[in-house]
Structure formats: C-alpha cells, structure tokens
C-alpha cells in the first residue's frame, strides 16, 4: 500500500491505459469505486481481486462496452466515455466467459474476426496460420468450438483477440480452467506480446501468474486497495509471516486465530500462514500455549498470496466493524 500512492497520481503521457476516479454503479450498488491507475506502454499489468471485486466491470468500461457512472479513463489516448469506437480499433479483448461462436469451427471463428477487423487480404492467411500455430490448434482447425475442451477454447479466444495485432490487450481471466502446462505456454505468449511493445491488462486469480506481472493492482469491493510492482508490494507488507507445518491445520487455525498479535491467518498448502506483528514473539507464544503439539514454525518472507489474504481479512474486518 505504501507503493500505491507513488504511482497512482497523475496521468503520465506515456500511459496507454489511464483511469481517474473511475466508478460504475448498478442501481445502489457500486461495483467499481473511484479507481485511479495508469498502465504504461508494453507493461503487463495484473488486476487481482476476489470474486465480485469489480475486475470484469473495470475491463468492460475500458473496452468501451460499459459506460462509466462517473470518473474518467483513456485507452490509447482516447476517452472511454466519448471515443469508444476509436478505442475499439486499438484493443484486443478476451472476455471471462467464452464468447466465440460455438457452432462455428476454429477456422470459421478466426475468419469471422479477421473479416470484422478488416485484416488486409494479403495478410489474412498469414495471421490465421500465426494464430493456429500459436494456439497449437493445427489439428483442431475444422473442429467446432463447442467440441473444444476449456483450455483449447481459451487459446482460440486469445488468438482471436490478438489476430489484428492490437497495441493494447485486455484479458479477463484468460487462464481459468487451463492446466498448468498450458498456462505456462499462455504466459510465454503474453511475454512475447509484451516484448513486442503490446500493453497487457490481465486479471487472474493465480498468484504465480501475478508474480509474472510487471505491476499489480489489487481491487476489493470495487476499491483499489494496493498498487505497485510485486517486489514493492511485498516490501510494503505491514508485519511478518509465520509458517506453521502441522498435521491438522484446520483445527489449529481456530486455536491460533485468537492469540494476541495475530492479524490474519489462513490455510496454506499443508499448513498455516499467520500474519503477525512480531514473528519471534508469536512463535514463542504458540510454543507456550500449545506445548502438546509438535509444530514446525518458521518466519518467512511474505508471498503475494500472504499479502492478499491479509488485505482481504483486514478489509473484511473493517467492513464488519
């Protein structure tokens, strides 16, 4: 959170995507609440947040398909409220839900978007082959999209989103439901695009993917609560992390939560992570309180996941009090 203020203010001229106090309400409900951030050219910007935080809503506003309630934003220098059609020439978008035509084959879907984006006749075949090769869909060319598995659908969707070589790409949970190997190749592709100067705005729930981003924004309940590089965010973590290895972590969770100095706690792999003020004191306290258990306790450097779990618990407590 310390890193956040440094980068949020002002709309730098270099910014490809720039939001200022961007807000979207649905009736009384505020889905996106005064979000301000900039994304520079060629940057991979990761947008994180729990379900319902407002990630997709933000992306839709940036793509010009959902009008903002208040605040402003620009994409490639065009205003999202008034110049959405110009924006549409500059962006590629992959929606969270698969939105290609299920009854069309892989090739027919590609042909459709290549016509809609007016890819010049001389380049059409080349771009199509590029997409098919990149997505590894050579053997499924003639398969209807409805018959593709989840991972293949995502690749096809990404392919159609970047078919026309847009300078800015919005990817809404592009790897949900994709196996780890495919996810890795997906990210290699994202790096490749970014290396070519493409700006990438991506949402994800996977922390290892978040680590791959140049910069991250964390949104919760519609509000941007943290912004910075992964290193900045981790360095700015308020407190220390204790990792506990034990047999029945779930039972232990309830017993350690109430200990003094424990700010948040969560199941983590085969054990627990506690966010505490002082790791040594907590380790000593647990050893005193629960001498019967054979616990392996250790202070570790916080991971992004620790960071976000503690953010969410802190916000949750603030909301309920």
């Amino acid at each position: 959170m310390n890193g956040a203020n440094a980068t949020t203010t002002g709309e730098s001229p270099e910014a490809q995507v720039s939001l200022h106090e961007l807000t979207r309400r649905f009736g009384d409900f505020t889905a996106v609440d005064r979000v301000t951030l900039d994304v520079a050219r060629g940057e991979i910007f990761g947008f994180l947040g729990p379900n319902g935080a407002g990630k997709s809503t933000t992306i839709r506003m940036l793509c010009g398909i959902l009008p903002p309630s208040s605040g402003s934003g620009t994409v490639a220098g065009y205003d999202i409220a008034t110049q959405s059609e110009q924006i549409k020439n500059q962006i590629g978008y992959m929606s969270q839900k698969f939105s290609l035509y299920e009854e069309l084959t892989v090739e027919e879907n590609i042909d459709f978007y290549s016509g809609i984006y007016r890819i010049p006749a001389g380049k059409k075949a080349e771009r199509k082959e590029w997409v098919i090769e990149m997505a590894g869909l050579a053997e499924q060319r003639g398969t209807r999209a409805q018959a593709l598995s989840g991972g293949w659908k995502q690749r096809l969707a990404l392919g159609c989103a970047v078919l026309h070589e847009p300078p800015i790409v919005f990817l809404d949970e592009p790897t949900s439901g994709v196996d780890p190997i495919s996810r890795r190749s997906f990210w290699e592709l994202i790096y490749r695009l970014s290396g070519e100067g493409v700006t990438i705005f991506v949402t994800t729930h996977y922390m290892e993917e978040a680590e791959c981003c140049d910069r991250l924004g964390f949104i919760f309940g519609g509000e941007l609560i943290a912004l910075g590089t992964p290193a900045e965010l981790k360095a700015g973590f308020p407190g220390q992390i204790v990792e506990i290895g034990c047999e029945r972590p779930f039972e232990l969770l309830q017993r350690v939560e109430s200990l003094p100095g424990v700010k948040s706690s969560a199941l983590f792999g085969a054990g627990l992570h506690l966010a505490v003020e002082n790791a040594e004191q907590t380790i000593a306290a647990i050893g005193r309180e629960l001498p019967d258990l054979d616990l392996r306790m250790e202070r570790i450097t916080p991971s992004l996941e620790d960071l976000f779990v503690s953010f969410m618990q802190a916000q949750g407590r603030a909301a309920s009090s």
Binding site: S95, K97, S99, E108, D111, I116, Y117
Partner: protein, 376 residues
C-alpha cells in the same frame, strides 16, 4: 463495409444452416401452414345441414324441399314434425337450418293466394347463416318465377309481371367465389410475416443471452453492418418461404397466379424490410429471448387481425382503420391478392409499395439507432 458485411453473412449463414430447427422452420413450416390454411380457411357455404319440417306434406311442399337439396347448398339431415324436435336439432348443432312449411301451403298456392314458408337459421355463425339465407331466397325466388309463369299460362297467357328487373351478378377475378383463391395467396403474408419476424426477433437477443455479443461489440464493427448482416439471411429465408408457398398454392390448390412473378418478389423484399425491422427492433431492445418472444406475439396478433386477412378493413371503426395505415401487413396483403387474382402491375400497386418502403425504412433505421454497442 463490404468486408465486414461479408464476414457477418458467412457466419450467419453457417449458424442458420447448421441449426436443424432453423432448417425445419425454413422449409417444412411454410408447406404445412399453407396446407392447413388452404383446407381450413374455407368460407364457401355448401351443404348446410338442414331439417325439413313439412306439415303440409303435399307435392308442392315436397317439390320445394327437393329444390333446396338439389341446389347443393342444403343437405337434408332430418325430417321433423314438431317444434320441439326442430329446436333440439338446432340446439345440438346437428342442423344449421330448418325449412318449415305449414299445413295448407299447397291449398293456398293452388288457390293463388300466396303462402309463406319459414327458414330458421342458427345465427351463432352469422356469416354462414347470412349466406345460407341468401341462397334460400334465390331458390324461393326461382320457384316463384316458375309458379307465376305456370299460373299465367293457365289463365290465358297473362303474366302478372310482364317484365321485371333481374339481377345478373358476376364476380370478377374469382368467378365461382372460391374462397380458396382469396385466402391461400394471403397465407403468404401471414407466414412470411410470422417466420421472418419471429426469427429476427431472436437474432440479436440470442447473442446477448449466450454472450457472444460481448466479443463482437468490442470490435470496430458498425451498427449498420451488424444489423444488415443479421437481416440479409432472413430476407433470403423470406424469399424461400414465398417461393414454397406460391408453389403449393399454384400446383396443389390450383390457385391462379395471374400477375408478374418478379413483382411478387419485389413486393416481398419491400415487405421484408418491415417485418425484419420489427423483429430486429424487438431483438435489440429485449434482454432475454423470452422477452423478445412475448413482444413479438404482442405485435403479431394485432398485425394479423388488422391486416384485412379475415375481417375487411372497411367494416372496422374509423379509428381502427387509421391504425391499420401503419400496418405493413395490410399493404402487402392488398399487393399479394392483386398480383395473384387480378394480375395487375406497379401502375396500380405503387401506392401500397411506397407505403411498404416508407414503413420499412423507418423501422429498420430505428432498429439500427436503438442497437447499442454496450452491455446492459
């Protein structure tokens, strides 16, 4: 423009043709509908079930009853001899008419004093009753004329009426007043309207419901390109429908097609602008397919009822008549009937065609304007 439209069309045609339900709607429904209408919508009145209530039982009364049956318009269903039985048959719907001849009919006729016979009709179906009554008076009129002739001959060649006015009517274009010739071509308007309007009302909203629209509206595609891409396939479906129905009408029902076939297609094209425009407008403003379906039916019934298909517009209240002026069905119906039965051309039909063009352009452009490239 052309390139995007081409991409839209290829995609739309693939979707339409790969959907078995759509193939059914396109090819099977028009044939079935035409057959149903052709056989069911038959307002010719023939063989009205009739009870003869003959209290006179004379050669004259039997002759009159015979004339009724031989005319082909009445069929002898029963003979009754009291009011109660006659009433009962009408109540149960077993007969639609009762021909009653009182005792003394022959006596009065022979005496030259004039007699009455009574025709009781089931008025619940006022249309049939009216037509049957009309036939009855023609039969009786014919009988009278013959009686007078005979009477005159017997009394020294003197005719009561040396001359009179006789009405010789001829129905042009449909000499035998075959209702089929009138209704079957009109079925084209109904089927084309129902199919193209219902299908196009699903066109946009289906993409909304499935979510495919989200990926399309983030592209720079123009609204007009999108709406046009959605309509052209349905124009083709409309033409296919017209062709199928016309073939069934001409070759199965032997309805004459006297006018020009290109004109038939031109008029169809003009009409489709309206029917697709209405469907697409509904589709763009609805959120769900169910909503669109309901709106489509909401439009469908008044459009058909106020088209002149079943009820003549001239006999509607004045306000309703004005209302029919925005009903594209009304104009298309006039054109179709005229092309099939009268064989007239653009020189006569241009006002209706101009009306269709005007209504069509207005609705289609409203649909394009109302189509929003945003969600929610």
């Amino acid at each position: 423009m052309i390139e995007r439209l081409k991409a839209m069309l290829v995609k739309e045609f693939i979707q339409v043709l790969r959907d078995p339900r759509m193939r059914f709607v396109m090819f099977v429904i028009p044939v079935v509908q035409t057959l149903i209408f052709g056989y069911a919508v038959n307002t010719d009145v023939r063989e009205v079930a009739t009870a003869v209530y003959d209290l006179d039982n004379s050669s004259q009364s039997r002759e009159i009853a015979d004339l009724f049956v031989k005319s082909g318009y009445f069929r002898l269903e029963a003979r009754v001899y009291d009011d109660k039985k006659a009433q009962e048959l009408i109540d149960r719907g077993e007969v639609k008419a009762v021909l009653r001849m009182n005792r003394g009919l022959s006596e009065r006729l022979v005496g030259g004093r004039g007699a009455q016979l009574q025709m009781i009709l089931d008025g619940t179906d006022s249309n049939t009753a009216g037509i049957a009554l009309n036939y009855a008076s023609r039969i009786v009129g014919g009988y009278n004329a013959r009686l007078q002739e005979e009477w005159g001959a017997r009394h020294g060649g003197v005719r009561t009426f040396p001359g009179g006015v006789e009405l010789v009517s001829r129905a042009w274009f449909n000499e035998n007043l075959e209702s089929r010739n009138y209704y079957v071509p009109a079925v084209i308007t109904n089927i084309v309207f129902i199919i193209t309007m219902l299908l196009s009302s699903m066109a946009v909203v289906r993409e909304k419901e499935i979510g495919t629209i989200e990926q399309v509206i983030v592209t720079p595609i123009g609204k007009g390109e999108f709406i046009l891409g959605k309509s052209i396939p349905f124009i083709l479906i409309g033409f296919i429908n017209v062709t199928i129905i016309s073939l069934v009408a001409v070759f199965w029902f032997e309805v004459p097609l006297r006018g020009s076939i290109p004109l038939l297609y031109l008029a169809t094209a003009l009409f489709l602008m309206s029917s697709l425009g209405i469907g697409l407008l509904i589709s763009t403003i609805s959120r769900t397919q169910q909503q669109a379906m309901m709106s489509a039916f909401f439009v469908l019934f008044p459009a058909i009822l106020l088209s002149g298909f079943a009820f003549p517009i001239e006999s509607m209240p004045q306000i309703v008549q004005w209302f029919t002026l925005v009903n594209p069905m009304r104009f298309f119906l006039v054109i179709i009937r005229a092309i099939f039965q009268k064989g007239v051309g653009v020189d006569i039909l241009w006002p209706q065609m101009a009306a269709l063009l005007l209504i069509g352009v207005t609705i289609l452009s409203t649909a394009v304007l109302r189509f929003k490239k945003t969600l929610g």
